[in-house]
Protein backbone atom coordinates (compact mmCIF):
# COMPACT_ATOMS: atom_id res chain seq x y z
CA UNK A 1 0.00 0.00 0.00
CA UNK A 2 1.09 3.54 -0.70
CA UNK A 3 1.84 5.47 2.46
CA UNK A 4 -0.31 8.61 2.46
CA UNK A 5 0.37 9.48 6.10
CA UNK A 6 1.70 12.97 6.63
CA UNK A 7 4.74 13.24 8.87
CA UNK A 8 4.35 16.57 10.66
CA UNK A 9 8.06 16.64 11.56
CA UNK A 10 9.13 16.32 7.91
CA UNK A 11 6.45 18.84 6.92
CA UNK A 12 7.71 21.41 9.44
CA UNK A 13 11.37 20.87 8.50
CA UNK A 14 10.47 21.14 4.83
CA UNK A 15 8.64 24.44 5.37
CA UNK A 16 11.67 25.82 7.23
CA UNK A 17 14.07 24.39 4.60
CA UNK A 18 12.08 26.01 1.81
CA UNK A 19 11.79 29.40 3.48
CA UNK A 20 15.47 29.41 4.47
CA UNK A 21 16.40 28.22 0.99
CA UNK A 22 14.35 31.02 -0.54
CA UNK A 23 16.11 33.62 1.62
CA UNK A 24 19.52 32.10 0.81
CA UNK A 25 18.76 31.97 -2.91
CA UNK A 26 17.75 35.63 -2.79
CA UNK A 27 20.83 36.64 -0.79
CA UNK A 28 23.41 34.42 -2.52
CA UNK A 29 22.61 35.04 -6.16
CA UNK A 30 19.09 36.08 -7.08
CA UNK A 31 19.43 39.67 -5.76
CA UNK A 32 22.73 40.07 -7.64
CA UNK A 33 21.30 38.56 -10.82
CA UNK A 34 18.06 40.56 -10.64
CA UNK A 35 20.08 43.76 -10.28
CA UNK A 36 22.40 42.76 -13.11
CA UNK A 37 19.50 41.72 -15.36
CA UNK A 38 17.70 45.00 -14.65
CA UNK A 39 20.92 46.93 -15.38
CA UNK A 40 21.43 45.02 -18.59
CA UNK A 41 17.82 45.53 -19.58
CA UNK A 42 18.20 49.28 -18.92
CA UNK A 43 21.49 49.29 -20.84
CA UNK A 44 19.89 47.54 -23.82
CA UNK A 45 16.86 49.85 -23.62
CA UNK A 46 19.07 52.95 -23.42
CA UNK A 47 21.30 51.72 -26.23
CA UNK A 48 18.28 51.02 -28.43
CA UNK A 49 16.82 54.44 -27.61
CA UNK A 50 20.17 56.09 -28.31
CA UNK A 51 20.44 54.20 -31.60
CA UNK A 52 16.90 55.26 -32.52
CA UNK A 53 17.73 58.88 -31.61
CA UNK A 54 20.95 58.74 -33.60
CA UNK A 55 19.08 57.23 -36.51
CA UNK A 56 16.62 60.13 -36.46
CA UNK A 57 19.52 62.60 -36.24
CA UNK A 58 21.31 60.88 -39.12
CA UNK A 59 18.08 60.95 -41.15
CA UNK A 60 17.73 64.68 -40.44
CA UNK A 61 21.38 65.26 -41.36
CA UNK A 62 20.92 63.22 -44.51
CA UNK A 63 17.87 65.24 -45.46
CA UNK A 64 19.79 68.45 -44.73
CA UNK A 65 22.74 67.31 -46.82
CA UNK A 66 20.38 66.30 -49.59
CA UNK A 67 18.81 69.73 -49.47
CA UNK A 68 22.22 71.37 -49.46
CA UNK A 69 23.30 69.21 -52.37
CA UNK A 70 20.19 70.18 -54.27
CA UNK A 71 20.87 73.88 -53.53
CA UNK A 72 24.50 73.48 -54.56
CA UNK A 73 23.40 71.71 -57.71
CA UNK A 74 20.91 74.48 -58.49
CA UNK A 75 23.56 77.14 -57.87
CA UNK A 76 26.05 75.23 -59.97
CA UNK A 77 23.56 74.93 -62.82
CA UNK A 78 22.77 78.62 -62.48
CA UNK A 79 26.48 79.51 -62.50
CA UNK A 80 27.02 77.36 -65.56
CA UNK A 81 24.07 79.06 -67.25
CA UNK A 82 25.40 82.48 -66.28
CA UNK A 83 28.93 81.61 -67.44
CA UNK A 84 27.59 80.19 -70.70
CA UNK A 85 25.52 83.32 -71.25
CA UNK A 86 28.48 85.53 -70.41
CA UNK A 87 30.71 83.53 -72.74
CA UNK A 88 28.10 83.79 -75.48
CA UNK A 89 27.89 87.56 -74.95
CA UNK A 90 31.68 87.84 -75.05
CA UNK A 91 31.77 85.68 -78.17
CA UNK A 92 29.12 87.80 -79.82
CA UNK A 93 30.99 90.96 -78.84
CA UNK A 94 34.24 89.56 -80.19
CA UNK A 95 32.58 88.44 -83.41
CA UNK A 96 30.87 91.81 -83.77
CA UNK A 97 34.09 93.64 -83.05
CA UNK A 98 35.97 91.42 -85.51
CA UNK A 99 33.33 92.06 -88.11
CA UNK A 100 33.52 95.77 -87.51
CA UNK A 101 37.29 95.67 -87.59
CA UNK A 102 37.33 93.63 -90.75
CA UNK A 103 34.77 95.97 -92.29
CA UNK A 104 36.81 98.97 -91.35
CA UNK A 105 39.96 97.24 -92.61
CA UNK A 106 38.21 96.47 -95.86
CA UNK A 107 37.04 100.02 -96.13
CA UNK A 108 40.53 101.32 -95.40
CA UNK A 109 42.04 98.87 -97.87
CA UNK A 110 39.48 99.88 -100.43
CA UNK A 111 40.33 103.50 -99.78
CA UNK A 112 44.04 102.76 -100.08
CA UNK A 113 43.44 100.84 -103.26
CA UNK A 114 41.42 103.73 -104.59
CA UNK A 115 44.21 106.12 -103.68
CA UNK A 116 46.76 103.82 -105.28
CA UNK A 117 44.58 103.46 -108.31
CA UNK A 118 44.21 107.20 -108.52
CA UNK A 119 47.93 107.55 -108.08
CA UNK A 120 48.59 104.97 -110.75
CA UNK A 121 46.15 106.57 -113.10
CA UNK A 122 47.74 109.91 -112.45
CA UNK A 123 51.17 108.45 -113.10
CA UNK A 124 49.86 106.74 -116.20
CA UNK A 125 48.41 109.96 -117.47
CA UNK A 126 51.69 111.63 -116.89
CA UNK A 127 53.50 108.82 -118.62
CA UNK A 128 51.05 108.77 -121.51
CA UNK A 129 51.39 112.52 -121.80
CA UNK A 130 55.17 112.23 -121.73
CA UNK A 131 54.96 109.47 -124.31
CA UNK A 132 52.70 111.47 -126.50
CA UNK A 133 55.09 114.36 -126.19
CA UNK A 134 58.03 112.11 -127.01
CA UNK A 135 56.20 110.67 -130.03
CA UNK A 136 55.26 114.07 -131.19
CA UNK A 137 58.83 115.19 -130.75
CA UNK A 138 60.15 112.29 -132.74
CA UNK A 139 57.53 112.70 -135.45
CA UNK A 140 58.32 116.27 -135.74
CA UNK A 141 62.10 115.68 -135.85
CA UNK A 142 62.03 113.10 -138.53
CA UNK A 143 60.02 112.87 -141.74
CA UNK A 144 59.54 109.28 -142.01
CA UNK A 145 57.42 106.80 -143.96
CA UNK A 146 54.62 104.79 -142.71
CA UNK A 147 56.76 101.71 -141.93
CA UNK A 148 59.33 103.81 -140.13
CA UNK A 149 56.56 105.45 -138.19
CA UNK A 150 55.19 102.13 -137.03
CA UNK A 151 58.65 100.97 -136.03
CA UNK A 152 59.16 104.08 -133.98
CA UNK A 153 55.86 103.51 -132.20
CA UNK A 154 56.79 99.90 -131.46
CA UNK A 155 60.14 100.94 -130.03
CA UNK A 156 58.48 103.52 -127.88
CA UNK A 157 55.98 100.93 -126.66
CA UNK A 158 58.78 98.51 -125.84
CA UNK A 159 60.54 101.26 -123.95
CA UNK A 160 57.36 101.97 -122.16
CA UNK A 161 56.89 98.32 -121.27
CA UNK A 162 60.45 98.11 -119.96
CA UNK A 163 59.75 101.04 -117.72
Amino acid sequence: MINLNVDLGILAIQVITFLLGMILIWQVFLKKFSKKLAERSDYIKNTLESVARQKIEVEALKADFQKQLETIDKRYQEKIREATKEAMDIKNDIVLQAREESKSLLEKTGEKLEIEKEKMLKEMRIEVTNLALAIAEKVLKENIDKNRQEKIVEELLKEFEKK
Binding site: M1, L11, Q14, T17, F18, G21, F29
Partner: protein, 246 residues
Protein backbone atom coordinates in the same frame (compact mmCIF):
# COMPACT_ATOMS: atom_id res chain seq x y z
CA UNK B 1 8.51 5.01 1.01
CA UNK B 2 5.88 3.38 -1.09
CA UNK B 3 8.47 1.27 -2.76
CA UNK B 4 9.69 0.15 0.62
CA UNK B 5 6.12 -0.73 1.55
CA UNK B 6 5.90 -2.79 -1.61
CA UNK B 7 9.00 -4.62 -0.48
CA UNK B 8 11.25 -2.94 -3.01
CA UNK B 9 13.97 -1.29 -0.99
CA UNK B 10 16.09 1.28 -2.80
CA UNK B 11 19.79 1.63 -2.13
CA UNK B 12 20.31 5.13 -0.76
CA UNK B 13 23.95 6.19 -0.61
CA UNK B 14 23.55 9.35 1.42
CA UNK B 15 21.75 9.05 4.70
CA UNK B 16 22.38 11.37 7.64
CA UNK B 17 21.90 9.56 10.96
CA UNK B 18 18.66 10.44 12.73
CA UNK B 19 17.44 12.57 9.84
CA UNK B 20 14.69 11.32 7.54
CA UNK B 21 15.79 10.44 4.04
CA UNK B 22 13.32 12.90 2.42
CA UNK B 23 14.76 15.76 4.51
CA UNK B 24 18.34 14.80 3.57
CA UNK B 25 17.40 14.72 -0.11
CA UNK B 26 15.55 18.00 0.24
CA UNK B 27 18.67 19.62 1.72
CA UNK B 28 20.79 18.17 -1.07
CA UNK B 29 18.41 19.59 -3.69
CA UNK B 30 18.44 22.99 -2.03
CA UNK B 31 22.24 22.81 -1.72
CA UNK B 32 22.64 22.04 -5.42
CA UNK B 33 20.51 25.08 -6.33
CA UNK B 34 22.36 27.46 -3.99
CA UNK B 35 25.85 26.23 -4.98
CA UNK B 36 25.03 26.41 -8.72
CA UNK B 37 23.61 29.89 -8.28
CA UNK B 38 26.64 30.95 -6.26
CA UNK B 39 29.03 29.60 -8.91
CA UNK B 40 27.08 31.41 -11.60
CA UNK B 41 27.16 34.68 -9.68
CA UNK B 42 30.89 34.46 -8.95
CA UNK B 43 31.84 36.96 -11.62
CA UNK B 44 28.81 38.28 -13.44
CA UNK B 45 29.66 39.57 -16.87
CA UNK B 46 27.61 41.70 -19.25
CA UNK B 47 27.78 38.94 -21.87
CA UNK B 48 26.87 35.78 -19.91
CA UNK B 49 28.78 32.51 -20.40
CA UNK B 50 28.82 29.05 -18.84
CA UNK B 51 27.01 28.64 -15.51
CA UNK B 52 26.08 32.35 -15.44
CA UNK B 53 24.29 31.87 -18.75
CA UNK B 54 22.40 28.85 -17.41
CA UNK B 55 21.38 30.61 -14.18
CA UNK B 56 20.34 33.76 -16.05
CA UNK B 57 18.31 31.70 -18.48
CA UNK B 58 16.46 30.04 -15.57
CA UNK B 59 15.79 33.36 -13.83
CA UNK B 60 14.68 35.01 -17.04
CA UNK B 61 12.42 32.12 -17.96
CA UNK B 62 10.66 32.05 -14.57
CA UNK B 63 10.36 35.87 -14.62
CA UNK B 64 8.68 35.68 -18.02
CA UNK B 65 6.31 32.99 -16.72
CA UNK B 66 5.33 35.18 -13.74
CA UNK B 67 4.63 38.04 -16.16
CA UNK B 68 2.63 35.74 -18.40
CA UNK B 69 0.40 34.37 -15.64
CA UNK B 70 0.29 37.25 -13.16
CA UNK B 71 0.82 40.32 -15.28
CA UNK B 72 3.17 43.12 -14.28
CA UNK B 73 2.78 42.15 -10.58
CA UNK B 74 4.47 38.82 -11.29
CA UNK B 75 8.19 39.64 -11.02
CA UNK B 76 7.53 40.86 -7.44
CA UNK B 77 7.09 37.19 -6.46
CA UNK B 78 10.16 35.93 -8.33
CA UNK B 79 12.03 34.64 -5.22
CA UNK B 80 9.06 32.45 -4.24
CA UNK B 81 8.38 31.04 -7.70
CA UNK B 82 12.00 30.62 -8.71
CA UNK B 83 12.74 28.70 -5.48
CA UNK B 84 9.58 26.66 -5.96
CA UNK B 85 10.32 25.75 -9.57
CA UNK B 86 14.02 25.03 -9.06
CA UNK B 87 13.44 23.05 -5.87
CA UNK B 88 10.75 20.83 -7.41
CA UNK B 89 12.69 20.37 -10.67
CA UNK B 90 16.01 19.50 -8.98
CA UNK B 91 14.22 17.28 -6.44
CA UNK B 92 12.43 15.41 -9.24
CA UNK B 93 15.67 14.94 -11.18
CA UNK B 94 17.52 13.75 -8.10
CA UNK B 95 15.51 10.53 -8.16
CA UNK B 96 16.96 9.67 -11.57
CA UNK B 97 20.48 9.39 -10.12
CA UNK B 98 21.20 5.95 -8.67
CA UNK B 99 21.56 6.14 -4.88
CA UNK B 100 19.42 9.24 -4.58
CA UNK B 101 15.70 9.68 -4.10
CA UNK B 102 13.32 12.48 -5.08
CA UNK B 103 12.17 14.33 -1.95
CA UNK B 104 9.01 15.07 -3.93
CA UNK B 105 8.12 11.39 -3.79
CA UNK B 106 7.35 12.05 -0.12
CA UNK B 107 3.84 13.37 0.52
CA UNK B 108 4.90 15.48 3.53
CA UNK B 109 7.46 17.41 1.45
CA UNK B 110 4.88 18.11 -1.25
CA UNK B 111 2.25 19.11 1.28
CA UNK B 112 4.73 21.53 2.85
CA UNK B 113 5.26 23.18 -0.54
CA UNK B 114 1.51 23.27 -1.23
CA UNK B 115 0.82 24.80 2.19
CA UNK B 116 3.41 27.53 1.55
CA UNK B 117 1.55 28.36 -1.65
CA UNK B 118 -1.82 28.14 0.13
CA UNK B 119 -0.85 30.54 2.93
CA UNK B 120 1.01 32.84 0.51
CA UNK B 121 -2.12 33.06 -1.65
CA UNK B 122 -4.31 34.22 1.24
CA UNK B 123 -1.62 36.36 2.84
CA UNK B 124 -0.94 38.32 -0.37
CA UNK B 125 -4.67 38.41 -1.21
CA UNK B 126 -5.55 39.97 2.18
CA UNK B 127 -2.52 42.28 1.99
CA UNK B 128 -3.64 43.52 -1.41
CA UNK B 129 -7.40 43.82 -0.89
CA UNK B 130 -7.87 43.92 2.87
CA UNK B 131 -9.70 41.24 4.91
CA UNK B 132 -13.22 42.28 3.89
CA UNK B 133 -12.30 42.97 0.28
CA UNK B 134 -10.60 39.61 -0.01
CA UNK B 135 -13.37 37.50 1.54
CA UNK B 136 -16.02 39.47 -0.37
CA UNK B 137 -14.65 37.70 -3.44
CA UNK B 138 -15.71 34.38 -1.84
CA UNK B 139 -19.37 35.48 -1.72
CA UNK B 140 -19.97 35.66 -5.46
CA UNK B 141 -21.95 38.31 -7.34
CA UNK B 142 -25.62 37.44 -6.45
CA UNK B 143 -25.83 38.32 -2.74
CA UNK B 144 -28.79 36.00 -2.04
CA UNK B 145 -26.51 33.06 -3.01
CA UNK B 146 -23.60 34.31 -0.87
CA UNK B 147 -23.67 31.50 1.75
CA UNK B 148 -23.64 28.82 -0.94
CA UNK B 149 -20.85 30.56 -2.87
CA UNK B 150 -18.85 30.98 0.31
CA UNK B 151 -19.01 27.24 1.04
CA UNK B 152 -18.17 26.32 -2.56
CA UNK B 153 -15.26 28.78 -2.74
CA UNK B 154 -13.91 27.66 0.65
CA UNK B 155 -13.98 24.02 -0.41
CA UNK B 156 -12.32 25.01 -3.70
CA UNK B 157 -9.56 26.85 -1.83
CA UNK B 158 -9.00 23.92 0.56
CA UNK B 159 -8.84 21.42 -2.26
CA UNK B 160 -6.09 23.36 -4.06
CA UNK B 161 -3.19 22.33 -1.76
CA UNK B 162 -4.47 18.76 -1.75
CA UNK B 163 -4.57 18.62 -5.55
CA UNK B 164 -1.13 20.22 -5.80
CA UNK B 165 0.31 17.73 -3.31
CA UNK B 166 -1.22 14.61 -4.78
CA UNK B 167 -0.53 15.46 -8.43
CA UNK B 168 3.18 15.94 -7.78
CA UNK B 169 3.39 13.04 -5.34
CA UNK B 170 1.81 10.41 -7.59
CA UNK B 171 3.64 11.48 -10.72
CA UNK B 172 7.04 11.36 -9.08
CA UNK B 173 6.19 8.27 -7.10
CA UNK B 174 5.19 6.47 -10.31
CA UNK B 175 8.54 7.37 -11.87
CA UNK B 176 10.43 6.24 -8.74
CA UNK B 177 8.49 3.00 -8.48
CA UNK B 178 9.07 2.24 -12.14
CA UNK B 179 12.82 2.80 -11.84
CA UNK B 180 13.06 0.78 -8.61
CA UNK B 181 10.99 -1.97 -10.16
CA UNK B 182 13.26 -2.15 -13.19
CA UNK B 183 16.35 -2.29 -10.96
CA UNK B 184 14.78 -4.98 -8.76
CA UNK B 185 13.57 -7.01 -11.74
CA UNK B 186 17.11 -7.03 -13.12
CA UNK B 187 18.33 -8.89 -10.04
CA UNK B 188 15.19 -11.07 -9.93
CA UNK B 189 15.72 -12.16 -13.56
CA UNK B 190 19.38 -12.75 -12.81
CA UNK B 191 18.66 -15.04 -9.86
CA UNK B 192 15.66 -16.92 -11.25
CA UNK B 193 16.28 -20.30 -12.77
CA UNK B 194 15.06 -20.31 -16.38
CA UNK B 195 16.33 -21.09 -19.88
CA UNK B 196 19.38 -18.95 -20.68
CA UNK B 197 17.85 -17.47 -23.85
CA UNK B 198 14.72 -16.25 -22.05
CA UNK B 199 16.83 -14.92 -19.18
CA UNK B 200 19.10 -13.01 -21.60
CA UNK B 201 16.06 -11.56 -23.39
CA UNK B 202 14.45 -10.46 -20.14
CA UNK B 203 17.69 -8.91 -18.87
CA UNK B 204 18.26 -7.10 -22.18
CA UNK B 205 14.67 -5.79 -22.15
CA UNK B 206 15.12 -4.53 -18.61
CA UNK B 207 18.50 -2.99 -19.48
CA UNK B 208 17.16 -1.22 -22.58
CA UNK B 209 13.98 0.01 -20.91
CA UNK B 210 15.85 1.85 -18.15
CA UNK B 211 17.23 4.76 -20.29
CA UNK B 212 13.79 5.25 -21.82
CA UNK B 213 12.22 5.47 -18.36
CA UNK B 214 14.98 7.87 -17.25
CA UNK B 215 14.25 10.12 -20.25
CA UNK B 216 10.55 9.96 -19.53
CA UNK B 217 11.34 10.70 -15.87
CA UNK B 218 13.32 13.81 -16.85
CA UNK B 219 10.40 15.02 -18.94
CA UNK B 220 7.92 14.32 -16.13
CA UNK B 221 10.23 16.11 -13.68
CA UNK B 222 10.17 19.28 -15.76
CA UNK B 223 6.46 19.14 -16.52
CA UNK B 224 5.48 18.57 -12.90
CA UNK B 225 7.72 21.40 -11.67
CA UNK B 226 6.19 23.65 -14.30
CA UNK B 227 2.61 22.61 -13.49
CA UNK B 228 3.08 23.13 -9.74
CA UNK B 229 4.72 26.55 -10.25
CA UNK B 230 2.26 27.78 -12.89
CA UNK B 231 -0.75 26.74 -10.77
CA UNK B 232 0.79 28.55 -7.80
CA UNK B 233 1.23 31.65 -9.97
CA UNK B 234 -2.41 31.45 -11.06
CA UNK B 235 -3.65 31.01 -7.45
CA UNK B 236 -1.63 33.93 -6.08
CA UNK B 237 -2.25 36.01 -9.20
CA UNK B 238 -6.03 35.60 -8.95
CA UNK B 239 -5.92 36.38 -5.20
CA UNK B 240 -4.16 39.72 -5.70
CA UNK B 241 -6.08 40.77 -8.82
CA UNK B 242 -8.89 43.27 -8.26
CA UNK B 243 -12.38 42.67 -9.68
CA UNK B 244 -12.10 45.47 -12.24
CA UNK B 245 -8.87 43.94 -13.57
CA UNK B 246 -10.60 40.63 -14.37
Amino acid sequence: MAAEAEGLKEIIFIQLPGIPEAVTMSWIAMGIIIVTGFLGSFSIKRAPRGIQNMVEFGIDWVTEKTREFMGENGPRFLPLFLTLFLFIFVSNLLGLIPGFKSPTSNISVNLALALIVFFSTHYFGIKEKGVLGYFKHFMGPPYWLAPLFFVIHTIGELVRPVSLTLRLFFNILAKEVLLTLLATLFFVFLMLEMPKVIQALLLAGDFLLRPAIILLGALVSFIQALVFTVLSMIYIGSAITHEEEH
